[in-house]
Chain length 161, copies 2
């Protein structure tokens, strides 16, 4: 299988210039505001986005390097398979966050619930649609009992190089 | 901003060899089974995945070419901004689906609710965690009233080249 190339469509800004201390998921970042600057050539693609309460962001974990196939996640003390975790050090370093959309002014999108380090290149943005994306009762494996404690957890250095 | 390169970690298989007639979202694909073959070097990263009922797939829309910033979605008769739709013809052709995980045998994952064309390179796989990902009451803009009708809608040629 071949390597494929992707080109950023914008850049995400947040108050977190360093990973240490930042929330590890949007559910722990409810007061955190940030913004996205979309490249001007994509302006026309932003129409109709304002009605969506949340949007899905796909972006590069731009501060990552390398990966481990077994990791000890923030929510656990046991090593887990990488693909059963949300650790950023992954083969393709692609981040996924569901964040809250507050306002749109030209090519700048104001966002909240931002669990993202400042500066990552944005690869794609899609509307969050509950019918497609919300499965509140879906079983969450080793995270099943731990997911409720996430808002209290902040990041340390373990996933960043 | 620079172009970044990504390398597939596996390949997704489904019964859909052509886009016409396939469901447009997992919610319309509840009986559709498929499988993912992960490359052998990533086997160790699959441990602990079996407890998750659903997984998030990020993949390349490998049959796409080019994009339009204004599209008429399946669920509508009006042109909408591309980033307010889930149309596959996007600047980076990255697909996102929440699918159901049925079983794992070595590097093969058996999946259901597959709204994906046969053959796309898989870029990443993450566990679906309701606390991070499920917002059942999130407002869905122009799709708010239309999302309930999705299971009856099948794809045509409009988004594939």
């Amino acid at each position: 299988m071949e390597t494929c190339c992707v080109t950023p469509i914008g850049i995400i800004h947040s108050p977190f210039s360093e990973p240490t201390g930042m929330p590890v998921q949007p559910s722990g970042a409810s007061d955190i505001v940030g913004y996205i600057d979309i490249l001007p050539q994509y302006l026309e693609g932003l129409s109709d986005i304002t009605g969506f309460e949340r949007i899905i962001l796909l972006y590069f974990f731009h501060r990552c390097d390398g990966f481990s196939l077994q990791v000890t996640p923030y929510f656990d003390t046991t090593k887990r398979g990488l693909f059963a975790t949300r650790a950023p050090r992954r083969p393709n370093w692609i981040g996924f966050s569901v964040i809250r959309l507050i306002d749109v002014k030209e090519t700048r999108l104001f966002i909240r619930d931002v669990d993202i380090l400042d500066g990552p290149p944005l690869l794609d943005m899609k509307p969050y649609v509950p019918k497609f994306d919300a499965y509140p009762d879906s079983k969450a494996g080793w995270l099943e009992d731990k997911q409720q404690n996430v808002p209290e957890i902040s990041a340390d250095e373990r996933f960043h190089s």
